[in-house]
């Protein structure tokens, strides 16, 4: 029964471009997918190590700029760009992780805020590199060019949807594998009781660095996906608002679970669009804030864990 439900869900999402014939809705789904990858990455840090990163938009932005700059200025292939979009933020994540050698809790948070702030300022001020506030228009679409076969451009929405879907599934499976492995068990042990974990020989910093690295790389990859979809990168990718949105998706969806961030991403990407259709612009964000408070008030542990509990009890 369980596999049937899962299979049906997969079938529906896999064939979406066929029956979601309104491109605007498909656009919303694609954005939800990109944010799902982002939310999963933040969840790795927040949900499984218990460390809050408030500079996560920094990794997202570095990924977007990495692939944007490489494909526009150096005319690299977008696939290489995406690889760079994963590698560079991962390196930054490694640095942040190592800097957090002595820092936990609030101090780690401030470190990440500073990281987010500095990357944002660099993108605005280092005109020669990033073109500053004018941004990078004209980022090329992703193409699949296998030798011998015609080039398949993923410019169309339907095609890009599949790319994003594959990314979400891959991110989910990566997280799943990670959690189930020794690394995952170590992370959870550290989250629950760091002193105890260290006393049995788990090196806290080593695992935190690993988690930061993977989390940052994933966020950067999402940034790359974003860059090739919107085909315009500007310093606004470093907006604190993106970090806040990711946070909302993870915590309201259910941190520490794997379905939570995905559900959160879908709901909180669809919600602003639904509000756009339902209410006039004056009320949209006010209603959004109230809905957020309400969701957390009635489901403090997040949507997925709460639903899980409710159904387990009935």
């Amino acid at each position: 029964m369980r596999w049937l439900a899962l299979g049906a869900l997969l079938a529906v999402t896999a064939t979406a471009p066929a029956w979601v014939w309104n491109p605007y809705h498909l656009h919303t789904l694609i954005m939800a997918g990109i944010f799902a990858v982002l939310a999963l990455s933040l969840n790795l840090l927040l949900g499984y190590t218990g460390q809050l990163s408030l500079g996560h938009a920094g990794f997202f932005g570095i990924g977007a700029y990495a692939t944007g700059l490489l494909t526009v200025k150096l005319e690299w292939s977008p696939w290489l760009g995406l690889a760079a979009a994963t590698a560079l933020p991962a390196a930054a994540g490694w640095v942040i992780g190592r800097l957090a050698l002595k820092l936990r809790g609030a101090y780690f948070v401030l470190l990440t805020i500073s990281f987010g702030g500095v990357t944002s300022l660099v993108s605005v001020n280092w005109m020669d590199l990033t073109n500053g506030p004018l941004g990078l228009p004209g980022v090329p679409p992703v193409e699949i060019a296998l030798p011998g076969l015609p080039v398949v451009s993923l410019r169309s929405k339907g095609a890009y949807y599949y790319l994003v879907l594959v990314a979400v599934v891959a991110a989910y499976l990566l997280c799943l594998a990670l959690i189930r492995s020794r690394i995952g068990r170590a992370l959870i042990a550290l989250r629950e009781n760091e002193t105890l974990a260290e006393s049995v020989g788990i090196n806290g910093t080593h695992y935190l660095v690993l988690a930061a690295l993977i989390s940052a790389g994933m966020a950067g990859f999402a940034g790359g996906l974003y860059a090739h979809y919107t085909r315009f990168v500007s310093p606004e990718v470093f907006l604190f608002g993106y970090t806040v949105t990711m946070l909302i998706m993870v915590v309201a969806g259910g941190k520490g679970t794997l379905a939570g961030p995905i559900v959160g991403a879908v709901i909180f990407t669809v919600l602003p669009e639904a509000l756009r259709a339902l209410t006039s612009w004056q009320w949209q964000m006010l209603v959004y804030g109230i809905v957020l408070i309400a969701v957390l008030f009635f489901m403090p542990r997040g949507i997925v864990p709460t639903l899980h509990e409710r159904w387990r009890r009935t």
Partner: protein, 390 residues
């Protein structure tokens, strides 16, 4: 797990299988409007919206366009390029508008531009000043506001009167501020003056004392300021605190001198402002009657007088769009685009007619708006002596 999946499935289907929810009023002609209605520049976005609404009401009172009433579909871009692109998508795909006006800030406009090309819908750009907007080879873009270079040219004929030997720049750290600093800097260098310091401030910054101290230590005689009226107020007040005494010229048209007089008081005395509308002297505008009528209607609606220097943009943008639809004969995006090249109307700012701009074969449209200078003297707005005649 099963139940979560089931719920997810149902939710998914419910949301996305829904067909286009287009609430159709029988005959209305829809024009999309994308502006920053929330966030740090909410005031400006709302002024443009108010101007657009006046244009809509005037058009409708005269019988509408093609015998149908005009309806404005207003979207908030929340000062975020991603939102601007999404709003454009929604307007084009869901609401099927034949033309859009937007998106205020240059990065917002640049982010929405790929959507215009993707779906083939034209946009009238009413405020953005980045040169790249009309130079990117996007034939669906038609701009009625001046790029910074054009604005600098507008100042050229008055340069002698200012007698500038060395100027400093203090600009907001966005495409607008940077573009203005570079365009005016080039103009000054061409005319034999020199450029001293070029300082920037973050869009949300409230304390500019450091930049002012640095500028004061230099030997410039004129300070160019490019930012929104709120920051100009703070700059002037803080300059007064530090006893910075030199000529101040604001650029960009968002300085709302009336608001400056109210909020900066004596600190604003003697400052010059480059504007694209003179609500205090509507008769001095190319179409004095229209300008006066606009000012009167704006005041009648109880909108703040300070907003007029930006609100007219909304009016002229909608006027242009409606005229294009009329010339096209039908609310079809491609026909409207063709028609935009033939538009020749008189807006509040002056004549609107598009010229080709950008790479050959894919030109965008750029109009040549009128540019004015005013000075704050004795707590009131005045036309400087050398600019007294139209």
């Amino acid at each position: 797990m099963t139940r979560v999946c089931t719920v997810a499935l149902l939710l998914f289907l419910a949301i996305f299988a829904a067909g286009p929810v287009s609430a159709q009023q029988a005959e209305a002609i829809k024009i999309g409007v994308i502006q920053p209605l929330s966030g740090p520049v909410a005031a400006s976005g709302n002024y443009v919206r108010m101007g657009a609404e006046i244009a809509r009401d005037w058009i409708n009172s005269r019988g509408g366009v093609l015998g149908r009433q005009v309806q404005l579909l207003i979207e908030d871009n929340k000062s975020d390029p991603k939102e601007a692109a999404t709003a454009a998508e929604k307007l084009i795909v869901r609401d099927k508008v034949p033309v859009i006006m937007g998106a205020w800030g240059s990065s917002m406009t640049l982010a929405a531009m790929p959507k215009l090309e993707e779906y083939g819908v034209p946009m009238v750009v009413e405020t953005s000043s980045a040169a790249s907007i009309t130079k990117r080879g996007n034939p669906w873009v038609f701009r009625i506001s001046p790029p910074s270079e054009m604005e600098a040219l507008g100042l050229e004929k008055y340069l002698k009167n200012f007698g500038i030997k060395q100027a400093d720049f203090l600009a907001v750290n966005t495409d607008w501020g940077r573009g203005a600093a570079s365009a005016f800097g080039d103009l000054l260098k061409r005319s034999g003056a020199s450029v001293g310091a070029t300082e920037f401030m973050d869009q949300a910054a409230t304390d500019m004392n450091a930049q002012i101290t640095k500028i004061k230590a230099g030997s410039g005689d004129t300070l160019f300021v490019t930012t929104s009226v709120e920051q100009i107020t703070l700059v002037l007040k803080q300059a007064q605190d530090q006893r910075l005494s030199r000529k101040v010229i604001t650029t960009g048209g968002s300085s709302s001198p009336s608001q400056l007089i109210k909020q900066a008081g004596p600190a604003a005395e003697g400052t010059y402002h480059i504007l694209f509308f003179l609500p205090w002297f509507p008769e001095a505008m190319p179409d004095g009657k229209l300008a006066k009528a606009f000012v009167d209607e704006w005041t009648k609606r109880g909108h703040p007088f300070e907003g007029l220097t930006e609100g007219f943009r909304g009016h002229d943008g909608i006027l242009t769009a409606a005229e294009a639809i009329k010339l096209a004969g039908k609310p079809d995006p491609k026909a409207v685009r063709e028609a935009l090249w033939n538009v020749n109307v008189m807006g509040v700012n002056g004549p609107i007619k598009f010229e080709k701009d950008g790479p050959a074969g894919k030109e965008s449209g750029q109009s040549k708006p009128s540019i004015f200078i005013v000075q704050i003297k004795d707590g009131k707005i005045a036309l400087p002596a050398f600019a007294a005649k139209k």
